[in-house]
Symmetry: C2
Subunit: 189 residues, 2 copies
């Protein structure tokens, strides 16, 4: 059995600190999604980062090499796919901040997209990790939209996650087992 880096065998949820384990939320989600795929649970993928290619040429081996390109802003959330026949869509972000999540992390296009998916009755949420505490919350799109539609703040306070979010327990292989929470909230069985 392959234990993820930094996790000891005989693991006890209460006594182990995950600090400095060197895993980003993206890394954890990649492992989790791969677990879901390998076990035929869900097919959810991170979309590739949008890159605008300006200059590309063929090298000696006949491969196209990109010589100049720029990162561009995503028009949708980063993750989507299918689970139990349902459309799943989410954005994942980390923050080092201890008291709030800065909304500048979510682009206007992405908010519009989240609104659209919510309207279309897709299962839509955010996964936000507060890296200082190593706490990862799932916040439903409806609660997220409710906050931004009723507040002028440029940040969502940590207390809002405590009150409206769902804490995702970290596990061995399914590092961020968000589908466990999805099952409960959307009552999928």
């Amino acid at each position: 059995m392959n234990y993820p880096k930094g996790i000891k065998k005989g693991f006890d949820n209460k006594n182990i600190t995950y600090k400095n384990r060197g895993m980003t939320l993206e890394g954890d989600l990649n492992l989790t999604n791969q677990y879901y795929i390998d076990n035929d649970i869900a097919y959810i993928y991170k979309k590739p980062t949008p890159i605008k290619v300006v200059k590309a040429e063929y090298n000696k081996e006949g491969y196209r090499v990109i010589k100049e390109a720029y990162y561009s802003e995503p028009s949708t959330t980063d993750y989507n796919g299918i689970y139990k026949g349902c459309y799943i869509d989410f954005e994942a972000k980390e923050t080092k901040n201890k008291s709030y999540f800065p909304l500048a992390n979510i682009h206007a296009h992405q908010i519009k997209h989240i609104r659209n998916i919510e309207k279309e009755k897709g299962i839509c949420f955010l996964i936000i990790r507060f890296t200082s505490f190593d706490m990862t919350y799932l916040l439903r799109a409806s609660d997220f939209l409710n906050f931004i539609d009723n507040n002028k703040r440029s940040t969502i306070p940590f207390s809002y996650f405590e009150e409206h979010g769902y804490l995702i327990k970290e596990k061995f292989i399914k590092r961020v087992d968000y589908l466990e929470i999805v099952d409960k909230i959307w009552r999928l069985s």
Copy 2:
């Protein structure tokens, strides 16, 4: 009203040739998907092309410029999203060939993905354009998988599309109105 390039007003389906109108299938699908989004019909997007960045640096203006990168193979199909609450997933390809579609155009990873989505009961299909005739077919994933599972050929003959595929009529704005076909096949209302 903006008529797409090369299409004359007073258009008659039978007499107009679409040859040399300079529109790729990808361009047509982008216009169509944008129409669906703008009219709150469906939220289906092309995934960005996966690119592996090898070297990137900051320029004088503080932007990250990619200096060396390579195209990498996609692990899923290019398009996915949500329509009438359902998960939609498809791959789109053009071929100049007049008598068959070369299967080399669809990677092994993509075939596996199509199989997974079909199993998970997502709405999954291919959109194949035969550019020589300007004919665009929708082929259901089940018919596609049925072909490759029962044939050793490396191509799907054009006749298979005539027999099992659905011809997508070209329109003014919704250039490739594939959802009209999806409605019929999957009986969405």
